[in-house]
């Protein structure tokens, strides 16, 4: 290593993932070629992040975010790769682009999120685009400059729509990049744009998207990949089931929930037996369209979802933007054996275009190895800080013993994250028709 001075947090404990990691490393040429061919047939999303759980006996994605909000948690040294990947994305999307409009989340007061937006703007500007920020928030009625820690600032402007195109005053972008997951629904101002590229597409927002659609596509990707590596696809794939028309307040759908929990636990139990895993299975019950770590519970027995008290029901009933939860996914729980600074941790991998551009550990001192870590108490540690030079995920060290190299561990993380990215591409191809029509014939979008 040319730079031994990067801090190595010796407390980042990476437990063995020997068998799967070795198989992935040995198959690297086949894997990379397979991805190359997959990307000939499928278009990667503009960007995405994947939450992984490494249980030592399996390594699986548990969530795939198409509007990643943690670019500020990537290490500085990964930025050049992110810029390069964004250049590639822009080339595919809109090679003539001069101007790009970024639409962030409405909550404009969260400094962490705003720092993410600032980082994203920096990456996009470094590709040579003029970037301006248009807000869906009704509170933003004029250009508003927000100061950030470290001397940065962001100017957020009201969105305007003119001649079927969206922009901000005096700025007509070729491409519009959403960093808003549309939990609050699909705004008319973004529909039926005239010759403007909007990414991710509207049906990628949580108003339409369902985790169960994603994991149905992931099932197929994992099966294909399992065949490629001659491994049980369960080693990279959590079981899941889903229930529609759940109403936690009215206690409707509890029977479906309990049956699904039982079904998933039974299947997991069989797999634990087959693979000699000694742990007790659990499932994660969460909103099928949820995000931000809201509406999530760990369940170890079907009876638990039949006996929810009022507080638990309230917690599960609504997610971000006050959206009522009707669709629920029951996902095999994958314990995490990663620790950073003695706290439970899970890796989050960031991708732009088809490239892994870095990642970090989500760390939560207040949570157990079988719980959702996206909760109060969490903090983030860049992969590159946990292990020097390993943040790239694309530089495996084939000579190192399995389990002995963070480069190899993180290469495996990058592979499984890219499987989820590929599943997202397929998911988005299949769900385009689900975009609901406009609610009314009213045309607020025509107002400039």
């Amino acid at each position: 290593m040319s730079n031994p001075t990067v801090p190595n947090l010796a407390t980042a404990v990476s437990p063995p993932l020997l068998e799967l990691e070795r198989r992935i490393l040995d198959s690297m040429p086949a894997i990379e070629r397979w991805f190359r061919l997959q990307w000939q047939d499928h278009t990667p999303p503009f960007y995405g992040s994947v939450d992984l759980r490494n249980a030592a006996f399996k390594l699986a994605p548990v969530d795939m975010n198409l509007f990643p909000g943690g670019f500020n948690n990537l290490s500085e040294e990964m930025l050049p790769c992110a810029v390069q990947a964004a250049q590639s994305a822009i080339e595919h999307l809109c090679p003539e682009a001069r101007n790009l409009l970024l639409i962030p989340e409405r909550h404009t007061r969260n400094v962490h999120y705003l720092t993410n937006v600032a980082r994203l703007v920096r990456i996009l500007r470094s590709t040579g685009l003029e970037v301006r920020i248009g807000s869906l928030s009704a509170e933003v009625t004029q250009p508003t400059t927000i100061s950030l820690p470290g001397g940065d600032s962001l100017t957020v402007e009201p969105l305007v729509r003119t001649n079927g195109r969206v922009g901000v005053a005096g700025f007509d972008p070729c491409a519009v990049l959403l960093n808003n997951d549309l939990s609050a629904g699909i705004p008319d101002i973004l529909r039926d744009l005239d010759d403007q590229v909007l990414v991710p597409p509207l049906h990628a927002g949580w108003a339409v998207r369902r985790k169960s659609h994603h994991f149905a596509a992931y099932d197929e990707v994992a099966d294909d990949f399992g065949r490629l590596l001659s491994i049980d696809p369960w080693l990279i794939n959590p079981y899941f089931a889903r229930c529609n028309q759940v109403d936690f307040h009215a206690r409707e759908g509890e029977e479906c929930l309990a049956e699904s929990v039982d079904l998933v636990l039974t299947r997991v139990r069989a797999k634990y037996k087959e693979h000699g895993v000694g742990a007790a299975p659990f499932v994660i019950v969460k909103a099928d369209a949820g995000t931000y770590g809201m509406g999530i519970m760990t369940v170890r027995d079907p009876s638990e979802v039949r006996d929810l008290n009022r507080k638990q029901r309230n917690k599960m009933a609504v997610v971000k933007e006050g959206l009522a939860v009707r669709d629920v996914i029951i996902q095999e729980g994958v314990p995490t054996v990663e620790k950073v600074e003695d706290a439970v941790a899970e890796p989050v991998v960031y991708m732009v275009d088809r490239y892994v551009v870095g990642g970090f550990y989500r760390v939560n001192k207040e949570r157990g190895i079988d719980e959702n870590l996206n909760a109060p108490g969490m903090h983030f540690v860049p992969l590159a800080e946990a292990q020097p030079f390993a943040g790239s995920c694309n530089l495996p060290d084939c000579k190192a013993p399995p389990g002995g190299s963070a480069l190899n561990r993180f290469y495996s993380y990058g592979v499984v994250a890219r499987l989820a990215l590929l599943a997202a591409s397929i998911e988005l191809e299949r769900t385009a028709h689900l975009l609901p029509p406009r609610a009314t014939a009213a045309e607020p979008a025509l107002a400039g």
Copy 2:
């Protein structure tokens, strides 16, 4: 900066390049879009490196290498970007590729060069290719493993040709990557390959290539770019002239040389006057097909090329592989004002596909600011070591004052290097017809 512990060589002196640097920074969006559109029309070479000279009043490429041999001089932290760029190159070249054959220089005993080959192999393998190394050297008659410092090793194998395809025993590559500049001529074994991609193409080798063709294409690129930025293209372009049929031993062509030196000096003198440059102009006389810093001299007056002594004539007459010099380029000398550790330095920028993947300073304590630094006494310092995080060349800091930021300085370097890369693409398009036919009707290539 998230990592203040990277060593900052305070002795890396970057003098002002205020005016040009400011213009380049201000025009970044236009520049990046212009490159994006250029790469729609032209295919970048697989890789390349550009020697730059920063004279403070101008910043210009003085050499463009299509077979870069210093990947080992890039900092470790730039490798992820190099892998990503190589993935992009392979996708464009041969997306179905499993196997790639690398053909290095024949001189298999130079440890520095072999370390470059090992670094290149590592980058290519990280894209998922099976890489093997085939040698053009007659001395390599069986697979030969060479140990390298640091525990690495390389296995070099004899080339074989079977059914019109080149490979090594038991290995049939989809793509063949030359890291051999073909100074010794074009080997028949590489001609007329059947459904194999060979990059860079044979006419990119010094058996065919001429610096003057490159700089003729660069003239056009620099003119276009000058219009884009409303700057005098001379600020990024050295004047040149050329002489054919020079024979230094027989003292033929001296008149052409002297006239060309006079012509270039006169033109440079006028530009110095126009731009208020106080220095004394000089030219570099060098082999039009030369490399490795051989056959190069600094000339300040036409009389100098008329009065060459035997030693000087011998030095200019032959270059690498003993090739006789017949074609000579007379290039405006660009003094370098860069210093690293008190020695004269020039930046060398490395690119893979259309992306800058890093660079280093070529440093030579024994040379002056108006001399060729590619000579005994030189050593290399990665840009990232000279200035932390600045090695990427794609992350300008638009808020820093001009001249005050290594990120901005190196962004300018990356821009000018990419201009030379673009010129190389155009050069290669135009010179494909120059590939000479086989010397004889003999068909050694048919032998397996």
